[in-house]
């Protein structure tokens, strides 16, 4: 009983940390983007304000059971993904539930939230929602290919699918990181990470500036608040995952913050520098060079 209570406490701490970190990170990066574009930008704590505002709205419109459950699925997906990844190597508090499954579990659990959200958005009856879903899912299958190849290359390199063991294998110096021992896998993985974060040039999915499109089209009030919360957590989970896969993981909170910040910054830099792809262009892009790099990484492992 004590063990379960301790685990519950640890889980709450871990979630608290990642949620706040994710929100602050989002706010920071928004400011970075603003600087690039010559604006002052929003305050760093703006994401908190958005979530609070949405949760205190007087009306909360919904279109049916699945719509109602969509954000729940989404947030559950984000939470679950994070909870199956060990965030800090060697830390009992941040090991989460990584004992219940390996890398494959994390890769497939990412679908959980996406599916639920897509279904929720679908029930809204708004044509732009499924339009965004169609684009997003199509793009996702494409960037999953180089990512899968990268994961396979890393797993075969270290003969394990356990994230903890992967991080363990990268300890003992920067040159032990997969980024240096298996650079091709890292490159393939990091290119697909651009797609995964849905920033430019792969941002057509939610087309944020021009028109309301994509899954959140019909979402407002507490539903939207939930999605915003998830965005922070899910972003954090993905960052932690890539840090663990390619950049040696983290042995303490500070190194985790530094590494994930830099990984995120990389996507922002790319996003600020490149215009947007159409969906079919991004599909062809991911199945082109990044996939070839992924195949090369895998073939090297086969030799």
């Amino acid at each position: 009983m004590n063990a379960i209570l301790t685990k519950a406490l640890y889980t709450l701490i871990s979630l608290f940390v990642i949620t706040n970190y994710g929100l602050l990170l989002g706010g920071t990066m928004a400011r970075v983007r603003a600087k690039v574009q010559g604006r002052i930008g929003q305050p760093v704590w703006q994401p908190y304000l958005d979530i609070l505002k949405n949760n205190f709205k007087r009306t909360g419109i919904y279109h049916g059971v699945m719509f109602y459950l969509g954000p729940v699925f989404r947030l559950a997906g984000g939470l679950g993904t994070y909870l199956f990844i060990p965030a800090v190597y060697g830390s009992a508090v941040f090991s989460n539930f990584s004992f219940s499954g390996d890398l494959l579990l994390v890769m497939y659990f990412i679908f959980f939230g996406q599916l639920g959200m897509a279904l929720g958005a679908g029930q809204s009856g708004h044509p732009y929602s499924p339009l965004g879903v169609s684009r997003g899912l199509a793009q996702m299958t494409a960037f999953e290919v180089p990512f899968a190849l990268a994961v396979i290359a890393v797993a075969s390199q270290h003969q394990t699918l356990s994230i903890t063991e992967l991080v363990a294998a990268q300890q003992g110096g920067i040159l032990n990181w997969v980024a240096f021992t298996n650079p091709l896998a890292m490159i393939a993985g990091m290119i697909s990470f651009l797609g995964m974060t849905m920033g430019n040039p792969f941002s057509v999915v939610i087309a944020p500036q021009e028109i309301p499109i994509g899954p959140p089209t019909e979402m407002q009030s507490s539903f939207l608040g939930m999605l915003q919360t998830n965005r922070a957590i899910f972003q954090g989970a993905k960052l932690v995952l890539f840090m663990n896969l390619f950049f040696g993981g983290a042995t303490n909170i500070v190194s985790m913050v530094v590494k994930t910040f830099l990984i995120y910054l990389y996507t922002v830099v790319v996003g600020a520098s490149f215009p947007r792809f159409r969906t079919d262009q991004s599909i062809r892009f991911f199945l082109g060079v990044p996939t070839l790099i992924g195949i090369a990484a895998v073939v090297i492992q086969m030799l």
Partner: protein, 1090 residues
């Protein structure tokens, strides 16, 4: 023993006295003819009884105290008795057929000719004297010329004339040959000549024998000297064509059989080659025919060619029989010189000849009864669909002719291929199998054209997207389609009554009875009688249909017998067989439940279905390769008939049949090679390909989408979730053969590419059933890939997938069948928003797609985990990459499926639809319970699977509580489930409690729509061409390369048929020229060969 002279005397007497009887009354004359026919049919039966049970020896009867050739010399032995039983039985029913039909009337003159023809044929079979033979040949031929012409059409006269010219040439050759033989040997008696050691020697002797053989062969209509024969079949009355094929041709074949001991190796070799060529080319020719009777005629010619080849090969095959008797595949009765019908090649000939005679005559009659002139089918008012009895009968006769079990040709085909392969005649075996495949193709094409529905173009292999806003029209059509029972009253409307079916019905019964007896013989002495349960089920339900037992009752009975079958037989199984047993039997029993919802009568449906399930079940128990092949073919034919019931399924059904049969023939060839001791690469390739066809592997899959999708909605699930695993099961059973060398990796690549292709093709389908069909193809690809890994995790995953696919695909098909039933459309974009009307179906599909796509925490993830772990362990990294891509693409079509049907905008016409009927929901509940159980406690399925594969692979994975640990990683399904529930329930609770007072549900059109008002649900629902970016990016992969390849193969056969057809100008001169050329080339080759 009754003297055969009575046979001759009665026939002759009746023919001569017929005018007198007719003067006394037409009915009296007919009755006399009928009595005579009964007499001549019964007499040989008494002989056979004497010869077998009473132990009498064969007798040669002489007439009037003289010796032949002055008198007639008739022999009665087992061979003669058996052939006469068959011939005279066909003649009896042929007479009844002619008598029962209304027009044209069976005139007195024709009756006389009929009797004299029979006299000739009976004499031909009985006589042992060469000159007698000539006389009888003339009697039968002259009668036939006249019979051919009796319809008095110009075609018939012409055909009779051509036949006469050809017959004249043959008679002349025969007579000259007989004269020479008499000159050389001093005798005309066959027995004396054979006793003296065969025919005379030397070139002159050989020439004499050659003339004799050539005459008989010409009478048997060899390619290419047979145009006159085909013309005769086409132009004659169907009743006469039937007799031409069943009586005359069989009788003359018996003559050939009789003289084979005389002919010597060179002539026999030439005859065998001629027979083989005739068989092959006739099938090609038949394929291109428009006229039904000409097609059947070519089929007859081909079958007689096959018989000729087999009889000519007898000296080579007989020793093979003796050798094979030591093996496992032959019942003792077939050993040469003993037991059944004297053993050796003769029983084989009887099976082939009898099967052909009864089925072909039956089909000729059916063409006459139904008025089917054109192979393109029947006008709607006369469609066979309106008469289940006629349709069933034609199906039965066609199946018999094509050599499906249990009909005699099936056993003959088995024996023949086994013997030929064991003697090294690979080429001939291949020709026979290929010819049989083509024959099945055109025969079943004709059958399907006769039974298809009016809206069926016969060429539906892919979704058909209606024009814009054609919904109203479609509704009307669909509502008719859904109630076929209202249209078909069971009694045909085109003027032919049930009674006219008597003759073909009797032939059908004879074939079925003979087949059953053979099955008992082949499976005697073993507990193999269970193998006949499918036939028993078929018979039982046919009986129930005929006494009009309500369909709902039949379904309950079907479920009950299936359950009983399972309870009786499953406990005897262990390991992998048990896993598949549960899939086949329990899976089928549950999926029969939605059938209860059907209204009206559905003759044949439950019979075929239970027979299918039982034959699938019987696959689990096979011990010999024959037992396996029997069940396999039975499964093929029953499932074919189920597919053909679909509204637009005739084209798909034909493809299914041809591919299945092609696969089965490859398996047969593989089995034959394997039983003759060749277990090398070619055997593995043949059998592997055969199983892959059944699984719909990429390249061999083009039959799959149409068959799965065009089958009735409540039957599709059997094909997808149950039947597709039969191939997989057999792969497991033959794994030892396939595991060798590089086959496993080839299989692996085929598997992963099939998985990708299935998912990718499913992505772009608007028709929900095609989506599910391709989805099944993809899933089977994963099973194949996992199997090919040949490792513990791989095999466990293959079995795990087989079981879980049954659960989720079964329940999804049931849910979708319910949706189609309610919405009356299969096009997804015409649905939408159905979640509010059919919430249970939505929930089922939701669970189904989560499970199928492999998203944790449901069962599907277990399969993904095992698959990738096993692939990476094995070092198949690229395959793992493609598999992950495929699984991503699968996620796309699954989302589309649920979104476009259940979410988005509800259409006006669907505002009142109800939840699917309870019967559709039952399998869904079972599926959901199963999935939830296995998801929560993966060990209850994984541990038994681990045990099942334990005899083959051990020890890579182990357990710690609920955690399964591989060499690479670990997975605890139980904790994953709890964590997922936790992270799901907490936000939900928060929404439900804290945020409750804010929320309010709004109407369908209450959306933020870019300053515009939504116009109609149709224009607001995003569903059509859902993944257009994907099509833009990767659409080039959609090229139907496989379909084109197979179309090209089919075209080659058709072009070959068409070009050979040019030999047949229809001119009597040309036909005569071909005969002369045939004889000359025969002689040249013979002389050159000496």
């Amino acid at each position: 023993m009754v003297s055969p002279m009575y046979l001759i005397a009665v026939l002759l007497g009746a023919a001569f006295l017929h005018p007198l009887f007719e003067r006394a009354g037409r009915s009296l004359a007919k009755s006399v003819v009928l009595l005579v026919l009964v007499f001549i049919a019964v007499l040989p039966v008494s002989w056979l009884a004497d010869l077998t049970w009473r132990g009498m020896v064969p007798v040669v009867f002489q007439t009037a105290g003289f010796q032949a050739p002055v008198s007639i010399s008739l022999r009665v032995g087992v061979e003669e008795a058996v052939f006469l039983i068959m011939i005279n039985a066909a003649a009896l029913f042929g007479g009844i057929y002619l008598m029962l039909r209304k027009s044209p009337k069976w005139e007195g003159k024709v009756q006389v000719l009929f009797l004299t023809m029979l006299l000739g044929v009976n004499g031909l079979v009985l006589t042992r004297d060469l000159f007698n033979m000539f006389v009888f040949l003339e009697i039968s031929s002259i009668s036939l010329y006249a019979l051919l012409a009796f319809t008095r059409s110009s075609d018939a006269y012409e055909a009779g004339f051509k036949y006469m010219v050809a017959g004249g040439i043959a008679s002349a050759l025969f007579l000259i040959g007989v004269i020479y033989l008499y000159r050389f040997t001093g005798t005309l008696n066959l027995d004396v000549m054979i006793a003296a050691g065969g025919g005379p020697g030397g070139k002159a002797g050989l020439t004499a024998l050659f003339l004799l053989a050539a005459a008989v062969l010409i009478e048997l209509k060899p390619f290419p000297a047979n145009g006159w024969g085909a013309d005769a079949y086409q132009a004659a009355d169907p009743g006469i064509s039937a007799m031409l094929s069943a009586v005359s041709a069989t009788g003359i074949f018996f003559v050939f059989y009789k003289i084979t001991p005389l002919l010597g190796a060179e002539i026999l070799r030439m005859a065998a080659i001629s027979g083989g060529i005739t068989f092959a080319f006739s099938q090609l020719l038949a394929m291109k025919q428009v006229s039904v009777r000409r097609m059947l005629g070519y089929s007859s010619i081909g079958q007689i060619g096959l018989l000729t080849a087999v009889a000519a090969l007898a000296p080579m095959l007989t020793p093979a029989f003796s050798q094979a008797a030591g093996g496992s595949s032959l019942p003792g009765g077939l050993v040469a010189g003993s037991g059944f019908l004297g053993g050796g090649v003769f029983p084989l000939l009887v099976l082939l000849a009898g099967n052909h005679l009864f089925s072909k005559a039956g089909l000729f009659w059916m063409s006459g009864i139904t008025g089917s002139v054109d192979t393109g089918g029947l006008p709607e008012r006369a469609s066979l669909r309106r008469s289940p009895a006629a349709a069933g009968l034609q199906g039965l006769l066609t199946a018999a002719l094509a050599g499906f079990p249990p009909f005699p040709a099936f056993w003959a085909k088995w024996l023949l291929i086994m013997m030929l392969v064991s003697t090294g005649s690979y080429f001939l075996s291949a020709v026979i199998l290929l010819g049989s495949l083509i024959e099945a193709w055109y025969l079943f094409r004709w059958f399907l054209n006769c039974v298809k529905k009016p809206q069926d173009s016969g060429n539906v292999h892919d979704e058909e997207i209606p024009d814009d806003f054609a919904a109203m029209e479609m509704d009307q059509e669909m509502s008719q389609e859904l109630r076929p029972d209202l249209k078909s009253g069971g009694v045909p409307v085109s003027g032919w009554g049930f009674i006219t079916l008597f003759a073909p019905l009797m032939h059908g019964l004879i074939l079925a009875a003979a087949g059953t007896v053979l099955a008992f013989m082949f499976f005697a002495g073993t507990p193999g009688f269970a193998l006949l349960l499918p036939l028993a089920a078929l018979a039982l339900f046919t009986l129930l249909d005929s006494v009009r037992v309500p369909f709902k009752l039949q379904v309950f009975l079907g479920i009950a017998v299936t359950a009983a079958y399972g309870l009786m037989l499953l406990p005897g199984l262990v390991g992998i067989r048990l896993v598949f047993g549960l899939i086949f039997i329990a899976g089928s029993a549950v999926q029969m439940v939605p059938l209860v919802n059907r209204k009206g009568r559905h003759p044949g449906l439950m019979g075929m279905l239970t027979a299918l399930v039982f034959s699938l079940g019987n696959l689990l128990f096979f011990r010999t390769s024959l037992e396996f092949f029997f069940s396999w073919e039975l499964m093929t034919v029953t499932s074919f008939f189920l597919v053909s019931r679909g509204n637009k399924a005739s084209g798909a059904a034909l493809r299914y049949l041809v591919f299945s049969l092609g696969g089965a023939f490859m398996i047969l060839a593989g089995l034959a090679l394997s039983s003759s001791g060749m277990n090398g690469g070619i055997t593995a390739v043949l059998m592997g390909l055969g199983f892959l066809v059944k699984m719909g592997a990429l390249g061999l899959h083009i039959w799959l989408p149409g068959s799965y999708a065009e089958t009735d909605d409540d039957l599709s699930t059997f094909f997808s979730s149950v039947l597709s695993k039969a191939g997989l099961f057999m792969l497991f059973m033959t794994a030892g053969l396939l595991a060798q060398a590089s086959f496993a990796s080839v299989l692996g690549w085929i598997g992963v590419l099939t998985a990708f292709a299935g998912a990718f093709l499913a992505l772009f389908k608007e028709d929900i059933k095609y989506t599910l069909a391709y989805s099944s193809m993809g899933q089977v690809g994963y099973m194949l890939l996992s199997f090919a890994l040949m490792s513990q995790l791989g095999w466990m995953n293959s079995l795990y997938l087989a079981v879980t696919h049954l659960l989720f695909k079964g329940m999804m098909f049931a849910a979708i069948a319910g949706v189609i039933y309610r919405t009356k459309t299969r096009m997804m974009y015409q649905m939408g928003g159905l979640i509010s009307r059919m919430p249970i179906s939505f929930f089922t599909v939701l669970i189904g797609i989560i499970a199928l796509s492999g998203v944790p925490p449901l069962v599907g993830f277990g399969a993904k985990w095992m698959l990738y772990t096993a692939l990476i362990e094995k070092g198949w990294y690229l395959q793992a990459g493609i598999a992950m891509f495929a699984s991503g693409v699968a996620f796309l079509y699954l989302f589309r499926l649920i979104h476009v049907i259940f979410l988005g905008q509800l259409k006006d016409e669907h505002r009142e639809v109800k939840e699917a009927p309870l019967w559709f929901l039952v399998p869904q509940f079972v599926g959901i319970i199963g999935i939830m159980l296995f998801s929560m406690f993966p060990d209850i399925i994984l541990k038994p699977l681990q045990t099942a594969v334990a005899p083959f692979f051990s020890g890579d994975i182990f357990w710690e509580g609920y955690t399964v640990i591989s060499t690479l990683g670990y997975w605890n399904g139980n904790v994953v489930m709890y964590v997922t529930m936790g992270v799901f329930l907490v936000p939900l609770a928060w929404l439900l409690t804290v945020q409750r007072r804010h929320t309010q549900k709004v109407g369908q059109f209450n959306i933020v729509y870019a300053a515009e008002r939504p116009y109609r649900p149709e224009t607001t629902h995003f569903g059509y061409n859902f993944f257009s970016p994907y099509r833009k990016a990767l659409g080039f992969l959609l090229q139907p390369a496989a379909a084109r390849f197979w179309y090209w193969v089919g075209s080659i056969a058709e072009v070959a048929g068409a070009s050979i057809r040019k030999l047949y100008s229809g001119n009597v001169q040309t036909y005569s020229l071909w005969i002369v050329l045939y004889v000359s080339i025969f002689l040249l080759l013979l002389q050159g060969g000496v």
